[in-house]
């Protein structure tokens, strides 16, 4: 048992060491969260003082087509890109986990592209999708597909962005691979001895053991795709015809181009609530469907 004096000293040391984070948390997280809640009830253009307007921003948002469109665009991207990326990265992780030659090489080649993100990646794919001299249309021409104006055609721009997102699946693949390699060999052997086929073993042993990894990636993937900005800013500027007008791009335009900080703050808060709810729901679902080896932790 520690003496009171000792534990008080320990307490002081604890707060001493976490103080940088605590200050940062208050200044760069807590204050902004509360401030944007306040701004969301005001009309604010940075020059004049914020003017309180109650729920004005929110009622305006719900009538704003651009707002609903940005949600539609973001959800479309999310619901196609995230599950497909997850699925593909799992498949490739399983393939690489086989006893095949050049495993290390495949692994590196697959996940190296995921390191190239941000504007470099956006510019590269903008060029790959160039209608006249780009690689992608050239590749499609071998299959008899005519010229597609990827980023100039509202029917294709989103698909181009989704295809682009697959390029970054190497990171997810690596996480699945680590998960697969963490599965105890004795479980797989036991299943084999019990006469379970490959598919059966995968479904009843491998997949449940991977479910925490799956869940983790799903949350990260959803939250990331709610925040797509770089592609819209660099390549499409939300176009053509608002078909890639992502939610965060909408916040950016309203705050930093239209100088409507209050209105944009309302959107920011809706994003915050959406992220919180999604995380919460997935966590709840996981209690039912996710298998944690050795009982439930936490």
């Amino acid at each position: 048992m520690k003496s009171t004096r000792e534990s008080r000293r320990e307490g002081r040391l604890f707060y001493f060491f976490i103080s940088p984070w605590l200050i940062g948390f208050i200044v760069f997280a807590l204050f902004p969260v509360l401030a944007s809640l306040y701004y969301s009830f005001t009309e604010y253009d940075i020059i004049h003082t914020p003017e309180f307007i109650g729920f004005g921003n929110y009622t305006e948002l719900f009538k704003d087509d651009q707002f609903w469109n940005s949600i539609k665009v973001t959800l479309k991207y999310t619901f196609i890109s995230v599950p497909l990326t997850l699925f593909l990265s799992l498949i490739f992780a399983i393939l690489i986990n086989q006893k095949i030659p050049f495993r290390g090489l495949f692994r590196t080649a697959m996940y190296f592209p995921s390191m190239i993100s941000g504007v470099s990646m956006a510019l590269l794919w903008f060029w790959v999708f160039n209608p006249q001299a780009g690689l992608f249309n050239y590749f499609l021409s071998f299959f008899g597909v005519g010229t597609i104006n990827w980023f100039l055609d509202e029917n294709y721009a989103m698909w181009a962005l989704i295809i682009m997102s697959f390029w970054g699946l190497g990171g997810g693949m690596l996480i699945f691979l680590a998960g697969l390699q963490g599965i105890p060999a004795h479980l797989l052997e036991a299943a084999k001895l019990d006469g379970a086929g490959r598919l059966r073993t995968f479904w009843n042993v491998t997949l449940p053991l991977l479910s925490p990894v799956f869940l983790f990636q799903l949350i990260i993937g959803l939250i990331d795709s709610f925040q797509v900005f770089t592609q819209a800013y660099t390549i499409t500027q939300g176009g053509p015809n608002y078909s890639t007008w992502f939610y965060v791009y909408n916040i950016y335009i309203n705050a930093f181009k239209n100088f409507r900080y209050g209105y944009a703050s309302a959107m920011a808060w809706i994003l915050l609530i959406a992220v919180t709810i999604i995380t919460f729901i997935i966590m709840k679902l996981s209690n039912r469907y996710v298998y944690y080896e050795g009982g439930r932790e936490r």
């Binding site: 320990e10 307490g11 040391l13 604890f14 001493f16 060491f17 976490i18 940088p20 984070w21 940062g24 948390f25 760069f28 204050f31 902004p32 969260v33 944007s36 940075i46 490739f92 393939l95 690489i96 006893k99 030659p101 090489l105 080649a109 697959m110 190296f112 592209p113 995921s114 390191m115 993100s117 941000g118 504007v119 470099s120 956006a122 510019l123 590269l124 060029w127 790959v128 001299a133 780009g134 690689l135 050239y138 990171g171 996480i175 052997e189 084999k192 490959r198 990636q217 939250i223 925040q227 900005f229 965060v248 916040i251 950016y252 705050a255 930093f256 920011a268 994003l271 915050l272 992220v275």
Partner: protein, 293 residues
């Protein structure tokens, strides 16, 4: 692995043949996918060395007719682009962010790992809860704050927050610090070490690899970040590389200078490739532990 030999004898012949077939198919799929993944990289490399005329030619050539090394020179001498300056800015922000993140996060993680106090669990939950906090949800008040401090159009708003520890890195480092044995610290205390020295002279030297992971990832995040720089930076001299490169698209060129942009992309990827080459294992570890690519 004594029963490995046993299981090897078990499968009957046709099953084995089918398994081999599946492996060959898997291999071929991987081969195709790998080629598809590498292709764009190759396209980037070859375009960066093409003349404007060859860049626009159809079908695209995979190896330039003659290597236009001048593209790389052009990036640095063309005064409309200010590539060198922006590269420098990105390096400054990246290195400063690494220094800030490594020291502040390890300092805080040390506190969480070594000391118990009233509220320590609560505060750690608070750290974890900020992992999911989306930057766009807090960027407006942060922007207004820094603008009021007169830091608009400067690199400081991109650097300063890193000196107040990052939630991901606290989490990562705390996991590691708790594995260090208590006896080590007791011995240190008996030798008369003060607590701050237990952090500085005992913990940090033992944590080289995990600190390297933290450094690499904070550098990459900072290096690739676009949204925060876009909010704060107005003048071309102060742009970081990502904005500078995005701005090349809309700049004064008659034809979009894809060869220059690919050369710029290539150079901007260079630090990451170098880091990757010298510390591939840290990359893998970091991705697996943080889930962030």
């Amino acid at each position: 692995m004594s029963n490995l030999a046993l299981t090897k004898q078990l499968p009957v012949k046709p099953k084995k043949a089918r398994a081999e077939m599946a492996q060959i198919i898997g291999f071929l799929i991987l081969l195709l996918v790998t080629v598809a993944m590498i292709m764009p990289l190759w396209f980037m490399l070859s375009t960066s060395l093409k003349t404007t005329k060859e860049m626009l030619a159809y079908p695209p050539s995979f190896i330039p007719d003659h290597f236009a090394w001048g593209n790389f020179k052009e990036l640095f001498i063309n005064t409309d682009i200010k590539f060198g300056r922006q590269y420098m800015n990105s390096l400054i922000v990246g290195v400063a962010t690494v220094i800030g993140t490594v020291f502040s996060s390890s300092f805080v993680a040390f506190g969480f790992a070594r000391y118990r106090a009233k509220g320590s669990t609560f505060f750690f939950m608070l750290v974890l809860s900020t992992l999911m906090l989306p930057y766009p949800a807090i960027m407006i008040p942060q922007f207004l704050l820094f603008t009021k401090l007169g830091l608009h159009d400067s690199l400081l708003p991109l650097i300063l927050p890193s000196f107040f520890a990052s939630a991901y890195m606290i989490f990562l480092l705390k996991q590691f610090f708790t594995t260090l044995p208590n006896e080590l610290y007791d011995a240190g205390r008996i030798d008369g070490c003060r607590e701050i020295r237990l952090y500085w002279s005992l913990t940090l030297p033992l944590s080289g690899p995990v600190l390297a992971t933290v450094a690499i990832f904070s550098f990459i995040w900072s290096w690739n970040d676009l949204l925060a720089p876009v909010l704060y930076l107005d003048s071309q001299e102060n742009f970081t590389l990502p904005i500078g490169m995005a701005a090349m698209l809309s700049s004064k060129f008659r034809i979009a200078p894809w060869n220059l942009m690919m050369a710029a992309s290539l150079l901007s990827v260079l630090p990451i490739v170098v880091l990757f080459a010298i510390a591939q294992r840290r990359f893998v570890q970091g991705i697996v532990l943080t889930g962030i690519k």
